[in-house]
Structure formats: structure tokens, C-alpha cells
Amino acid sequence: MNEILWISLEALIKAIIILSLLLLSAAISVYLERKLSAWIQLRIGPNRVGPFGLLQPIVDVVKLIMKEDIVPNGANKFLHGLAPVISLAVAIMVWAVIPVADPIKIGDHIIQMGISPNADIGILFILAMTSVGVYGIALAGWSSNNKYSLLGGLRSSAQMISYELSMGLAILSIILISGSFSLSDIVNQQFSHWGGFRWNIFIQPLGFLIFLTTAFAETNRAPFDLPEAEQELVSGYNTEYSGMRFGMFFLAEYANMATSSAIITLLYLGGWTLPFAPSAIGLEQGTWILGLVQFVIFAIKIYLLVMFFIWVRWTVPRFRYDQLMRLGWKVLLPLALLNLILTSFGVLFINH
Amino acid sequence: MNNIPLEYYIALSGILFTIGTLGVILRRNAIIVFMSLEIMLNSVNLAFISFARYLGDTSGEIFVFFVMAVAAAESAIGLAIILALFRKKQTIYVDEVNVLKH
């Protein structure tokens, strides 16, 4: 009983730390998005609040909280309130199985750097959570009593079901190579060959491209932002949302972006590992300094990917809906199947 | 160590199966009948997994995979039937579908 209490306390503290880091990173992503989009469009971007406009996200949040919270006439109040909560909760829950560094040792205790990083169902849990995430958008669209929102919700559920298949097949190839569902195992397995540089992107280039494309589709970012296409659906499922409820969707989008980047980093880009043995620069395995260095490396990789997401959004035009469906079912799915078959032959060939 | 008697899980499974049966019998809405069927299938899954866990045998878990696969197939077909029914008769109430009666 006492042991369970301690485990829960440890998980709670880790959850609080990860949650605050995630919210902080969402704020930074919002700032990055506004600044980068401004540079791409030859504007200056936010520069009034704080130095270089760095405090802009805080002002944004204050504005959203102060705004009136409107529930449209004829809307289903309960579901209208529930939908943004589902979106945000799912984006956060994925972090329960994501490790951020190697475990560190303090005295006799080995502290895992993550809430449950060794869960032997890690990747499956992530897949399950992303598949549940569709309810947030679908319910938001349905409960708003607005035809544009409904179209956005229908589009998003069709899109997410279609792209989840290719995503699952791309992940399956990774599982075939690593032989484990656990994210720590997958990262360590990338580190333990080729002098720390056998990142899965080098042996799974096709799988990486498929996963990247589906990650864009699952986060509803351009060029796959059909559920909220401003020009045709007046911002789709979140048309009828205002105030902090809209803020939660907004936050969920940026949290999802960080989450997807983290998963791509763990699966394909070697996670937090250094490209050489940590002892080469005098860092012992298990010290907190090494943990910190690894966490910083992980964060840098995540942010490079987040910037890539932003860059793509402001340079690539949106797909048409039939193009989106054709890409998902007729291009990505066969390619993912081909990748899976080739990978299984490769694994069989190497193992025997 | 988990020391809940197996009977508790089986009783829970029985209660859930009965609730599912009631839903199938009492409701007219085809979608809700469909969802009640899912409750029944899931209660059986619960019984399978508790037997598998208490007997230390993987067969129960394997059976659950097959039940899930059949449930997935059933949902695809069932929802297609409901959609076709709605297109043809503009209703999804099973007691209003009485073409064969008249």
C-alpha cells in the first residue's frame, strides 16, 4: 500500500512537470509560428509586448480568457463544452509514455525520465490516443449546430481514419526492426549500432516520409487543414467557439504539434541520444548532467521539427478534398504496405 | 498481488451481458441495438480475459482478438446496412421496417 502511494506521488510530480513544460512549449510554438510566418511573408510580426514581442503568447492567453464565452443557439451545451476538453486531454495524455532522456541515478534510486517510459505497450498507447483524438473535433463540429462546423467535423473524422492506417503500418515497420513496443527500447536500439548513428530515418526513409505526411494529416495542419479551411468552411469545427474554449483547441493544436514532433524524433531521429558514447566527453551514464544534456538535445530536435511544421504551413497550399483522399488511400497506403513487406524481408534476411 | 475472486469478474460480465440483452430487446433505434450488441460482445471478452488470467492460459486472450476482429467486421456491415436502410426508408427504427409483413 505504501509502495503504491510513493509510485503515485512520483508519477504525479512527473506529470505536473511534463504538463507545465508542454504548456510552455505550446506558448513558445505560438510565438515561433507568428514570427516565422511574418518573416516568410516579409512582415515584422509581433514586436510590441516585451523585447522582440516575446511576451505576446501571455497577452494572447489573457485576451482569450477575458473574452465572452458564447454557446450558440440550438447547440448541444454539454458536448459543445466537452469537445475542446477531449482534444486537449488526448494531446497531453500521449506524454504518459514518452521518455525524454536515459534514466538517472540519485543515490540508490533509478529515476525514469518520463511518467511510464518502459511501458511495453508504448507505441500502441500513442496510436490508441491519437485515434481517440478525433472525437474532439468531430463532436465540436456536430454540437455547434452550424453547417460549416458539421462539414469540418465530418471531414476531420474521415481524414483521420484514412491516415491512421498508413501511420500504423509505418510504425509497424519500426516495431519489426526494434522488436519492441517500448519507446525507450526503440531509442536505445537506434543508439546501439553504427556508433550511435543508426537512426531509423537512414534505414526507413520511405517509412519516415509516410509517417511525416500522416503526422501532418493527424494534427490537421496545412496542407491537410481541410477541417478548418478558412476560405471554404470559415474555420470549420471551431467557428462557433470563442474565449477559452477556442483557446483550448488552439492549445491542443500546438500541443499536438509538439507531441507529433516528439514521436517522430523518438521513432526516426534517434531520440535523445548523443551521436557518440557519453563517456567520450566525460559524462557518466546515470548522472543528472547527462540527463539534462540529453533532454536539451531532445528538445532541440523537437523544435527543429516544429519549425518545419510551421515552414510547411506557410509555404504549401491546401489540398482539395478528393486529392487528400486519393493521396491517403491510393498512394500512402500501398507505399506503407510495400515498406512493411520490404522491411519484413530485410529483417528476415539479416536475422538468418 | 491481485486477490479478487474470479466470481466477481464473471458476475460483472453476466450483469453487463444482461444489460446488453435488455438493450437489444427494448430499443427500436437500430444504432442503439447495434451498440447493445457491442456491450454483449464486450462482456464476453471480459469473461474470456478473466478466465485466461486466472487459469494462466493464453487461449482466452487469443479468443478476444478474434472476437474483436469479428466485431470490427460486424460494425462495418451493420453500419452499411443502417445507412442503406436510412436511404431506402428514411427511418432507422427497426419496427418500422415491415416490408415483408405487408
Binding site: 448541444n76 511501458a119 511495453d120 505497450i121 500502441l124 490508441a128 485515434s131 472525437y135 468531430a138 463540429g141 458539421l150 467535423g153 465530418l154 483521420m160 481514419i161 491512421e164 | 498481488m1 491481485n2 466470481e7 466477481y8 464473471i10 458476475a11 460483472l12 451481458f17 444489460i19 446488453g20 435488455l22 438493450g23 430487446i25 427494448l26 427500436r28 433505434n29 444504432i31 442503439i32 451498440m35 447493445s36 457491442e38 471478452n45 471480459l46 478473466s50 485466461a52 486466472y54 494462466g56 493464453t58 486472450e61 487469443i62 482478438f65 478474434f66 474483436m68 469479428v70 470490427a72 467486421a73 462495418a76 456491415i77 453500419l79 452499411a80 442503406a84 436510412f86 436511404r87 432507422i92
Partner: protein, 169 residues
């Protein structure tokens, strides 16, 4: 009272309440929401039975795929509240209730009269991993696995044929 029993009671009550919610609410979308809660409760119950793989498959298959389809259909048909009474007392209904009650009593008497051999409470955590389940699935039960593949394929073809507009009119 140990922590396992508390978890079992809470999850069991949640599962029963959400199952009742599924069959008793008027609006199909509330039924669907309730059923999703039910699936999550069952998934947590599987975790108490040391089967994490099945627990996560439960969410992946039921909450993530099947219920998305159901919600999709409810949204597509734009179903509103049942204008009919939820439960009408008719001869058929009372017959159903009696049938369900008899069935329930049968289960209870079965459990009471045949005390199940209190099984070995060994740790089966290593038995129910994806690896060991997969090796059973691909050796001993390979034929059944292949047949399920054919079943799913035929279900896909059937669903597409039935959803086509031309065949209906």
C-alpha cells in the same frame, strides 16, 4: 479492503452505469458517448487482469475505430432525440425483461452452485505480452488467423457494395 478491490469496484460500477446509460438515453449520440466510457472502463478492468496488450487494443479497436464509425453515421444521418418513448411496456417488452431476468438468474445460480476452482494466482504478466501472444497466434492458431483475414476482407467488400447508391435504387 485492498487497493485492487477498490479499483475493481469503482471500475465495475462505472462499467455498469455507462452500459445502462447506453441503452437508456434518448439521444443516440449520448448512447455513443456512454459506450465510449464503457469501453474505457473495460480497458482499465483488463489492466487489473494483467493484460495491458488487450487493454490497449480494446481502446484502439473499439473506441478508436468502431465508435468513430458509429459517431460518423449518427452525424451523417443527423439523428435527433428519439421522438418515441424510450421504453414502452408492451407484451414483447415484458417478455424481453422476463427473458433477461431469467438469464441473469441462471448466471448467478451457476456461479453460486459451482464454486469455481480457486485458481492459481500466479503472475501472468510475462505470459500476456505481445511477444508471447503473437507467437501463439502465428503458430497454433494460424489457420484461424488467416480465416479472420478473409472475413475482414469480405466484410469490407460487403460494406462497400451495400453502401453504393446504385444498388439501392
Amino acid at each position: 479492503m485492498n487497493i485492487h478491490l477498490i479499483a475493481f469496484i469503482v471500475l465495475g460500477i462505472l462499467a455498469i452505469a455507462s452500459a445502462i446509460g447506453t441503452i437508456a438515453t434518448k439521444h443516440p449520440i449520448y448512447s455513443a458517448m456512454s459506450l465510449i466510457v464503457h469501453f474505457f472502463a473495460l480497458s482499465a478492468l483488463y489492466l487489473t487482469l494483467q493484460s495491458p496488450f488487450v487493454a490497449v487494443l480494446q481502446i484502439l479497436v473499439y473506441a478508436g475505430a468502431i465508435m468513430v464509425l458509429v459517431v460518423f453515421v449518427i452525424m451523417l444521418l443527423n439523428l435527433n432525440e428519439d421522438e418515441k418513448q424510450t421504453i414502452r411496456i408492451q407484451s414483447r417488452n415484458s417478455f424481453g425483461i422476463v427473458l433477461a431476468a431469467i438469464f441473469f438468474i441462471m448466471i448467478v445460480t451457476f456461479i453460486m452452485s459451482n464454486p469455481l476452482n480457486q485458481p492459481n494466482s500466479t503472475n501472468v504478466y510475462n505470459l500476456f505480452t505481445a511477444q508471447s501472444l503473437g507467437s501463439v497466434l502465428f503458430t497454433k492458431d494460424l489457420v484461424a488467423f488467416e480465416i479472420v483475414g478473409i472475413l475482414l476482407l469480405s466484410a469490407i467488400v460487403g460494406a462497400i457494395v451495400m453502401a453504393k447508391k446504385k444498388l439501392i435504387n
